[in-house]
């Protein structure tokens, strides 16, 4: 118990002093997670919107497949991407392994199904009368789609926030594709795992506190936007 209390107090001092190593780790985490969330959103939101808005054969099967991908373990994605970007892989010449770009690729794959399925859910929840109202007021297909998108906006923002919350806390992809290089690919989660291995808890607990605060902030935002969706 003393160990935990001591570590926690030291961690708070570390956070208060804005330790440069800790700040650098948090900055890498935020940069990589924000980039992958942005990329996944750019692809996942339009894709999810199209899947939800359009009718086509195999739609239910596609949604089932996307839901299945939600449970994809990070190590499987790590292995999959590794096979492509390792020296023997087809993308080997690009020298991506153990770079932030590699982590972004892996993390984007991880959260793409989250963004897409949450977007599908947000669009599907929108009352069919919105589309009919837009049509009767003279809207064409594109304008009707915009109405649906606007009505689902809070749900879509919630999807993006949920994806960021998932990616900032993942460790498998960052470790396997980033390599945990200090000042370069070391993120909050990989640094915590390393500090734990070394038996030095102060930095690990400090990063844990920051991660928890970030997650709490993300959840607050998520519930705020979910609440707006329900009107």
């Amino acid at each position: 118990m003393d160990l935990l209390v001591d570590s926690f107090l030291s961690a708070l001092l570390l956070v208060a002093s804005m330790d440069p190593e800790m700040v650098s780790i948090v900055a890498v985490s935020l940069k990589v997670s924000a980039t992958s969330t942005m990329l996944a959103s750019l692809m996942g939101v339009p894709f999810g919107f199209l899947v939800a808005f359009e009718s086509f054969p195999g739609k239910r099967l596609l949604i089932t497949c996307l839901n299945t991908l939600l449970a994809l373990p990070t190590v499987v994605i790590g292995l999959f991407v590794y096979a492509f970007i390792s020296r023997r892989g087809i993308l080997g010449p690009l020298d991506l392994l153990y770079t932030q770009k590699a982590m972004v690729i892996g993390q984007t794959i991880l959260i793409l199904p989250i963004v897409a399925t949450f977007t599908i859910a947000a669009i599907s929840r929108i009352d069919e009368r919105y589309r009919k109202t837009a049509k009767t007021l003279g809207a064409n297909r594109r304008q009707s789609a915009f109405v649906i998108f606007r009505e689902a906006r809070f749900g879509i923002v919630a999807a993006v926030i949920a994806a960021f919350g998932r990616v900032i806390a993942e460790v498998g992809i960052s470790m396997m594709l980033g390599g945990n290089a200090k000042g370069f690919t070391r993120t909050m989660t990989t640094a915590m795992a390393l500090e734990y291995d070394k038996g030095q808890f102060t930095l690990a607990v400090a990063l844990g506190v920051i991660l928890l605060v970030l997650s709490f902030g993300m959840n607050l935002l998520f519930h705020f936007f979910q609440g707006r969706t329900r009107g």
Binding site: T133, T136, L137, Q143, V147, R150
Partner: protein
């Protein structure tokens, strides 16, 4: 003549939900479609509002045959607006709800503001322009949705059971608004109801039993 309809049917699978041998609707008048629940009143409104195609039959709209392919329907919808039984307003202000159809028609901003003010005035909702639409009561929502339809200056206004979801006070107000719209703007109005007293007050001589 606004509509000239012959041998119109609508079937879902093997079940025929609507069968109208002949229906003619003249310009500038109010018509009632009278019938019990399930008689096909809403289906007929959807078809003449160009929101869904019939299974068989011919429709002439303003003397032109209607082609029910999506690309041909969209221009026709700019002349006919439907107000649903339980209308839904976009999650924004009342003003922006009315602005939607006007923006689609590329009406300039100054003119838009004037039309919105006039339309809200007509339904007695002028003071609600900046109100959030989703906070309005059922009667207010119904009035705003009529104003939203009016704003785009349609040739035909279709109202699906316009008073069924509002209190008696609002029922009288809505009936008066519909009468006023018809008198002032000469807009053809087709409404559905299962209430004979509404037919008596709005379209005593022009009702179609379904």
């Amino acid at each position: 003549m606004v509509y000239n309809i012959s041998r119109l049917t609508k079937a879902y699978g093997t079940r025929t939900v609507l069968d109208v041998p002949l229906l003619e609707i003249e310009k500038g008048l109010i018509y009632a479609l009278l019938g019990p629940n399930g008689a096909g009143k809403t289906t007929l409104l959807n078809i003449i509002g160009f929101l869904e195609p019939p299974t068989t039959g011919k429709i002439f709209f303003r003397s032109q045959p209607v082609n029910f392919s999506e690309s041909c329907l969209q221009p026709l919808r700019k002349s006919v607006v439907m107000v649903e039984q339980h209308p839904i307003l976009f999650t924004t202000t009342v003003h922006k709800n009315l602005e939607f159809g006007l923006k689609i028609r590329r009406i300039p901003k100054k003119e838009r503001d004037h039309i919105i003010e006039e339309s809200l005035d007509l339904v007695g909702m002028r003071n609600f322009a900046r109100a959030q639409a989703h906070r309005l009561s059922g009667g207010e929502t119904q009035r705003v949705s009529i104003a939203r339809a009016l704003a785009v200056n349609p040739k035909v206004l279709l109202c699906d059971e316009p008073t069924s979801s509002v209190d008696p006070e609002n029922q009288i107000a809505i009936i008066n608004i519909l009468k006023q719209i018809n008198e002032l703007k000469k807009i053809t109005i087709v409404f559905t109801t299962h209430d004979r007293s509404q037919v008596t007050s709005l379209a005593p001589d022009r009702y179609i039993n379904l």
